[in-house]
């Protein structure tokens, strides 16, 4: 039974090799983040001026930066920051956006109030909002999560609000109400289960964009403290060496693109798995 359900979960991935590749990249990134100290060939902070700006070679696969630090080790350690900020933003956006959206749709008076507040927040570009908040609060990892998360809370609220309005009008919700269901029952049995798959897709997007946003903030010097390795920080530090040492930008840049792209592929595949109407299609293929 359990091996059977595992294959059922993997089926949308095996049916689409590119989604499987995306899953592979993400799993590798998570493993790299968890086992960073053991996987890194060198200390990411160790400075060695004698070998500064060495191109990729046998001893330093990804080359070294202007202080002679090993780029491979720094790239591996940076995945920790990427995952921390990405998942932090997703958790924040869902934990605030889902209740706000569902309750706004079910209680119109509250909805008018909350959705107007969301409108105000949405009037600011996400990055500008984040910049403003970071300037007001002091820069730290938590501030970055809050600053980016606030921007994606608004889109999550909007999406959940719209979906819940539609679900609320479904005949099966009406049937449930005719049998005496209260608000809590409707939310837990009818609304939330139908929100899972669109939210999973939304979460994968938020994760991807949060990472991009964090990289942008790092690049501008407003994100993670510069001594912590992160892909954005690496880009920021090495941009002046772009012609002399392009590998310094290539590897962190590639990781940003690869993780964001993989997240989207996996999000799509998971949506197909969670939607019962798609299960049949994959069942026939398998």
């Amino acid at each position: 039974m359990s091996s059977n359900s595992v294959t059922l979960w993997l089926r949308p991935f095996t049916a689409r090799p590119i989604a499987l590749a995306g899953l592979g990249v993400l799993v590798a990134t998570v493993l790299a983040a968890v086992f960073a100290p053991w996987l890194s060939p060198y200390d990411p902070y160790a400075i060695d001026p004698l070998i500064r700006l060495t191109p990729p070679n046998v001893t330093h696969w990804f080359g070294t930066d202007q202080f002679g630090r090993d780029t491979l080790s720094r790239t591996i350690h940076s995945s920790r920051m990427a995952l921390l900020i990405g998942s932090g933003v997703v958790v924040f956006a869902l934990a605030t956006g889902v209740p706000a959206g569902v309750l706004s749709a079910l209680f119109p008076r509250l909805g008018h109030l909350l959705m107007r507040m969301v409108d105000v927040l949405m009037a600011f570009p996400t990055l500008l909002l984040a910049l403003g908040l970071i300037v007001i609060l002091s820069p730290s990892v938590g501030t970055v999560i809050l600053a980016i998360g606030l921007g994606y809370m608004t889109t999550t609220t909007r999406i959940v609000y719209g979906l819940t309005l539609r679900l609320r009008a479904e005949t099966y919700v009406e049937a449930s109400r005719s049998m005496g269901a209260g608000t809590a029952w409707l939310i837990s049995r009818h609304i939330l289960p139908n929100l899972v798959s669109p939210l999973l897709v939304q979460a994968s997007f938020v994760f991807a964009f949060a990472q991009l946003g964090a990289a942008s903030l790092d690049f501008l010097g407003l994100g993670a403290p510069p001594d912590i390795p992160s892909w954005g920080n690496m880009l920021a530090e090495s941009r002046t060496f772009i012609t002399r040492a392009p590998w310094l930008l290539f590897f962190p840049g590639m990781m940003i693109v690869a993780t964001a792209f993989s997240l989207n592929l996996v999000g799509d595949a998971l949506r197909d798995r969670l939607d019962p109407r798609f299960r049949q299609v994959f069942g026939e293929k398998g």
Partner: protein, 321 residues
């Protein structure tokens, strides 16, 4: 027609507020309807779209709040009573919906959908009792108990409607409100579902309010028929009396509109009906007068009230019959 009355509705009024062209209107969807239902009796409600028959059904299952009127269920007043009276009504009066595809949550198993009313009211003491009840209910509607673990997308339209019916008989109610329960189904499946409903009526002694615009279906299943027009009942009597000898001009037009195998045998006085007047601008007198061939001056100013005419408990609201 005989037997003890279990549902008695008196002077029910239901209205909605609507906004059109910036002005607020009150739309009187149900305008003083009275009806009663005896144990095991099937009352057909017919009428064209927008006549208030669906609103009437939705009010009886508590989806719409009536403005005024009484609903008496097994001797207890439901409206105005506290939560307990309403809960009693929720379990006793159950609805079968028109579209079996839309009325089942695609993400809940058939078993969960069937047991929903019981789960909401905390009916089951144990999981074993619950799954036994689900299996028994699925068997009662002619489905294999193994369907409990399936999802709606795995079922055909007819099977889904059987699930819709199963959901409405667990725990066993005393009244069904069926709103066009077969009009979304293939004709061959319609007959099966109708037979199932009639079997259940006999086995469970269900009373049924059967809402439909299909007079053929109504003739098959109903013992009595009430004809609704713009929120009011205009004629009510035994099914054969109404459909074979309609007296109200509106009923005659409805009956005449049934496609006949032999087109030359049309009922005399049949007319082309045209559109009903807008609910926003209700006529002063009889609401049917603008479309009625028999309308006299009185019909334009004086609203006809229901009165008894002839045998078979017929009541009719028309000045000229």
């Amino acid at each position: 027609m005989s037997g003890n009355v279990i549902l008695d509705v008196r002077d029910m009024m239901v209205s909605f507020s609507a906004r059109r062209a910036g002005r607020k209107y009150r739309v009187q969807a149900v305008d003083g309807v009275s009806l009663s239902l005896a144990e095991g009796e099937v009352l057909g409600i017919v009428g064209e779209s927008g006549c208030g028959k669906t609103t009437l059904g939705r009010t009886l299952v508590g989806l719409v709040q009536p403005d005024s009127g009484n609903i008496n269920l097994k001797g207890t007043e439901v409206i105005g009573a506290g939560g307990s009276g309403l809960r009693e009504m929720r379990l006793n009066v159950r609805m079968v919906f028109q579209d079996p595809n839309a009325s089942l949550n695609p993400r809940r198993t058939i078993g969960d959908s069937v047991a929903e009313a019981a789960d909401i009211s905390g009916f089951f003491k144990s999981r074993a009792e619950r799954s036994a009840a689900i299996a028994a209910t699925l068997t009662a509607v002619g489905l294999n108990p193994s369907f409990a673990a399936r999802y709606p997308y795995e079922l055909s339209g007819g099977q889904r409607q059987r699930v819709g019916i199963a959901r409405a008989i667990l725990p066993t109610p005393s009244i069904f409100v069926a709103d066009e329960p077969v009009s979304a189904l293939d004709v061959s499946v319609q007959a099966q579902v109708l037979n199932l409903m009639m079997d259940l009526r006999d086995q469970l002694r269900l009373a049924m309010l059967f809402i439909s615009h299909d007079l053929g279906v109504i003739r098959q299943i109903s013992s009595r028929v009430a004809v609704m027009y713009m929120g009011r009942i205009v004629e009510q009597a035994g099914t054969r009396t109404v459909l074979d000898h309609p007296l109200h001009p509106y009923t005659r037009a409805l009956v005449a509109a049934i496609p006949k195998p032999d087109p030359s045998r049309r009922i005399l006085g049949a007319i082309e009906m045209g559109e009903p007047p807008s609910l926003f601008t209700r006529p002063h007198g009889c609401a049917y007068a603008p479309r009625c061939l028999m309308a006299s001056d009185r019909c334009l100013v004086d609203v006809p009230q229901l009165r008894s005419v002839g045998a078979d408990g017929r009541t009719i609201a028309c000045h000229n019959v």
